[in-house]
């Protein structure tokens, strides 16, 4: 591979007497879309938090385009081009949808252009008709879309999505899959999800986490047929 967009070297995180993440060597190419699956407590969200700087690894390194960002501040990493949609939606509840997206878009633009970018993003995440509603009053699934809009508005090069379809109807899940495929045309993505149907809609390559380490990496279909993965994770969702 040419210099990977994102690479972790022996990355590890130890807290509360638990090795949440153990010696993870992960690599993602420019423009690649990877899905991350694994049992609850396997360390997926902790892994994400180390990529965004929310947690500092206890050992190992995170490299973004070759630069070591392991001890960088969150806002610095955000400016380098990593955006994250959190497992629990992290949005500005007391502000309107429009204001939420404005705050994000104005980080990379100014003046009238920002207003245009905001309107475009509102269209893209289909929230134009609730643009002036307070985000705190929106339904769970809609808040997910607001967060997606916020993250995309800073035009990141790598988008991390932590359970983006939680709380969504099947129709919304399909729309999200479509949006992700669109985003993937210009950006790299790592998506954590439990919905295997959704993963089949978007992914080729899947990385499986278990007990803080990478268990295996393979194509979607192989993963779904793997008996070990069925036992520890998939249950009845496995394909015979």
């Amino acid at each position: 591979m040419a210099t990977p967009l994102l690479q972790t070297v022996d990355l590890g995180m130890h807290f509360g007497g638990v090795m949440a993440v153990r010696n993870v060597n992960f690599a993602l190419a420019e423009g690649e879309l990877r899905c991350l699956i694994g049992p609850n407590g396997a360390g997926k969200s902790t892994f994400f938090k180390m990529l965004t700087g929310q947690l500092k690894p206890t050992h190992g390194h995170v490299l973004f385009r070759g630069h070591d960002i392991s001890s960088a501040n969150q806002h610095h990493i955000a400016r380098l081009g990593i955006g994250i949609k959190c497992q629990v939606p992290s949005v500005f509840d007391g502000l309107s949808v429009r204001e939420n997206i404005w705050l994000s878009a104005s980080r990379i633009s100014s003046g009238k252009r920002v207003m245009r970018l905001v309107d475009e993003m509102l269209e893209r995440v289909t929230l134009t008709n609730v643009a002036d509603s307070l985000v705190g009053q929106l339904a769970h699934g809609q808040r997910q879309w607001v967060e997606l809009g916020i993250v995309l508005s800073t035009d990141p090069k790598l988008v991390l999505l932590d359970e983006p379809t939680a709380g969504m109807t099947h129709e919304e899940v399909e729309k999200t899959a479509q949006l992700i495929r669109e985003i993937n045309q210009t950006k790299a993505l790592i998506v954590v999800e439990h919905d295997m149907q959704f993963i089949r809609m978007i992914a080729n390559q899947v990385t499986v986490f278990s007990q803080g380490a990478i268990l295996m990496e393979d194509g979607v279909e192989n993963i779904m047929r793997n008996p070990l993965i069925r036992d520890i994770y998939l249950g009845k969702q496995a394909v015979a």
Partner: protein, 244 residues
């Protein structure tokens, strides 16, 4: 009749959400509620639990009129609620969370309840001494459900219970709930986006749109119900039923 809702209207401040909602639930029934986001599913559960005051209408639970009762009183009557998200006590350990769920049971009964429940939720066994806030999202969700069941509720309101939980454990949770229905007559109202779960657990399904119950039908009528068309796409179970 376990639950009787008549003409329930509720909303947030000046924004009305629920519009003359009426339905009944018998003991031991499992009801599924379907609807798009923002249509009032979560609002309905919150109103049933009493976190949202009823603007008008009546709610009867286990023979008592609970319309004006505070949530903790409804809980004491046997109404359990697992809200969306992960509302566990982050500063308490898993074990302490479960004990909080046991509320008024005497000490010895408490241990027995928790032990029984841990057999149904083995994933929590190695986590007993871990602080709630250090668990992963899915583990917290599981704890929230287990904690609610510790209180031995007669009717449980579940809002997206399987969200964030890994597929194999989702299967286990579904089996646990089915066992509890068959063994102790547990009644359930379930809000879920995953149609397969709804189909596995519910006997009757209500579809909410714009705060009103648009349709109510039995499970076998699922493929015929045109309104459910928009939800069906995601269900392999029902697709197979249609293809046969």
């Amino acid at each position: 009749m376990m639950l009787d809702v008549q003409g329930l209207c509720a909303g947030y401040g000046r924004i009305p959400i629920l519009d003359e909602v009426s339905f009944e639930v018998n003991e031991g029934e499992f009801i599924g509620i379907l609807g798009h986001n923002g249509m009032g599913k979560t609002t309905l559960l919150r109103a049933l639990m009493g976190f949202l005051p009823a603007a008008s209408g009546r709610i009867q639970f286990a023979g008592c009129d609970v319309t004006a009762l505070a949530p903790y009183r409804r809980a004491r009557l046997g109404l359990g609620y697992v809200p969306q998200g992960r509302e566990i006590f982050p500063g308490l350990t898993v074990y302490e969370n479960l004990r909080m769920g046991c509320s008024k049971q005497p000490g010895s009964a408490e241990n027995e309840t928790i032990a029984t429940l841990l057999e149904e939720f083995p994933r929590l066994k190695p986590l007993l001494d871990r602080v709630g806030g250090s668990l992963s999202g899915g583990e917290q969700r599981l704890l929230a459900i287990a904690r609610c069941l510790c209180g031995k509720p007669r009717l449980v309101l579940l809002d997206e219970p399987t969200e964030s939980i890994q597929p194999s454990i989702v299967d286990d949770v579904v089996e646990t709930l089915q066992r509890m229905r068959d063994a102790s007559g547990l009644t359930l109202i379930l809000v879920e986006q995953n149609l397969d779960i709804v189909a596995a657990l519910s006997q009757r399904i209500l579809v909410i749109r714009k705060g009103k119950i648009m349709q109510e039908f039995q499970l076998d009528g699922l493929h015929d119900a045109s309104l459910v068309g928009e939800f069906i796409g995601g269900s392999t179970l029902i697709k197979r039923g249609n293809d046969e």
